[in-house]
Subunit: 129 residues, 4 copies
Amino acid sequence: MDASLLTITPGAAEPIYRQIVEQLRRMIAGGQLPPGELLPSVREVAGFHAINPMTVSRAYSLLEGEGLLERLRGTGMAVAQRARRARSEAERMSLLEPRLHDLARAARELELPAGRVLRRLGELLEDGE
Amino acid sequence: MDASLLTITPGAAEPIYRQIVEQLRRMIAGGQLPPGELLPSVREVAGFHAINPMTVSRAYSLLEGEGLLERLRGTGMAVAQRARRARSEAERMSLLEPRLHDLARAARELELPAGRVLRRLGELLEDGE
Amino acid sequence: MDASLLTITPGAAEPIYRQIVEQLRRMIAGGQLPPGELLPSVREVAGFHAINPMTVSRAYSLLEGEGLLERLRGTGMAVAQRARRARSEAERMSLLEPRLHDLARAARELELPAGRVLRRLGELLEDGE
Amino acid sequence: MDASLLTITPGAAEPIYRQIVEQLRRMIAGGQLPPGELLPSVREVAGFHAINPMTVSRAYSLLEGEGLLERLRGTGMAVAQRARRARSEAERMSLLEPRLHDLARAARELELPAGRVLRRLGELLEDGE
DNA sequence: GTGGTCTAGACCACG
DNA sequence: GTGGTCTAGACCACA
C-alpha cells in the first residue's frame, strides 16, 4: 500500500490520527487492504503528508491494539492475518449506519426533500468510481 | 419550542454545546423554528437533559453571535427576526454537502454498492417524516 | 483514588504507560477500583511521579479505548459503569496465568525445587497484606 | 543440544533475542546444559524457528560476552568451561526473585487469595517434571 | 479546572 | 532500515 492512498486533512475537526485510523479500518473491512498487506512506514506517511511521525505511530498502535494490524519486527506494520478479511456486505453496511442516521437527521432538520438528497448522494457515489 | 425537542447525547464524540448549536441552526434554516419562536430557558434545557447550564448558555451565545438568536430581556432567547427564515433549497443543500462527501467516501472505502447505500438512506429519510 | 497508589518504576523494561495500564486494569478487575471511582488527574499523576503528562494521558486513553474508563468531560476520568466490577475469581485467576506459566518455566530451567519456590512466593503474598 | 529445545514466540512482548538469552542462561545455571555442551548452529536455530539468523547470532554473542558461551573455531558455540555450572540453590533462587515479586504484586491487585495462587503454581511446577 | 492533540527532537530496541 | 518511548512545551476544547 502507498502513503498517497491516505487522505489527510489537517485542521479538520477530526484529529489526524483518527482520520488515519478510520480510513484504514474501512479499507481493511472493505477488503481493499487484504491480510498480510504491508503498510507504508511511519516515516513515509509522516513525510508524505508533512505530519509528525508520532501522530502516524499513534494511529498504527491503536489499530494494532484492535488486532487489525500486526507488527512485523524490523519490517513494519501489516494487516493482521486474523483480521476478518471479507466481511459480509451487511456487516460493512452496519459500519456506515451511524453516518447515515446523522445525515438523515440533518436533512430532515433542514427540511430538504428526500429525492434531492438521494440524487446528490448518487452523483457523489458515482464520482469516486 | 420545548426542551424535549433537542436530542443530547453526552459522551458522544461531538461536544454537547455543538450538538445544540447544530441542531438549532438546522431547525432555523429549515423553518421548523420560525423567527420570534421562543426557546426553552437555559435552566430548562440543562435540567431536562441533566447537563451543565454553562454548556447550554455557551451554545445560545454562539448562535446569538451568529445573529440567529436574539436575547429578549426578561423573557429569554428567541429566534431572531432577521434570521433568514426559509433559505433557498440550494443554500440548505450546501449545508449538507460536507456530510455527503464524507459518507460517499466512507461507502467507497467499505466497497459498498451505491444502490444499497441509497436504498438504506431512502428508508431513513422516510422514517423521520 | 490517589496518585500515590500507583507504583511507577522508570527505567524498568516495561514502559511507564503500560505499567499504569496494567495496574489499573488489575485494580479494576479486582474490585479495588469500583465503577464510578474517579481517577487522579493526568497532571496529578504526572506531577506526583515526575513523569510527562502525555505518558499518563496515553495510559488513560488506552483504557478508555478498552471500555474500562470513561471520560467525564470537564471532570476527569472515572472507572466505567459498564466495567465488569467483581469478576469471578476464576476470571481474575486467568489474568494471572501467563505470569504463572513464565514463572514455572523459569523455575524448572533453573532446576529449583518446587517447595522452595512455593515457600518464597507464600512469604511474598503474606507481606503485602 | 537440539534447536527444538528452545521455545521461541515471535510476536511476544519479549524480544526474540532476549527469549533465547534468558532461556540459555537459565539452562546453564540450572545445569541442564553442562560446560562443553555444543549448541545448535545459528543457521539451525534460525531455520528451525523461522527467525532471522542475525537475531540468533546476537543472542549467542551476548552470552559469549558474559562468558557463558565460548566460540570453538570451526565447530560452533559451546557452553564455556569456565561457566559456573551448578550455582548454589540460593544463587539460582535470586534469579527468580524479580518475577516472584511481580507475581505477588499482580495477585494482590487482583485480590486473589494466596492459597489459590500457590495451589495453581504448584500444579504448573509438577507438570513440567 | 479537566483531557486532547500535535510538534520537534532525542534516544532506544529490533532485525 | 523498522517502530517505540519519552520529554518539553504549545495550543485547543470542554464544563
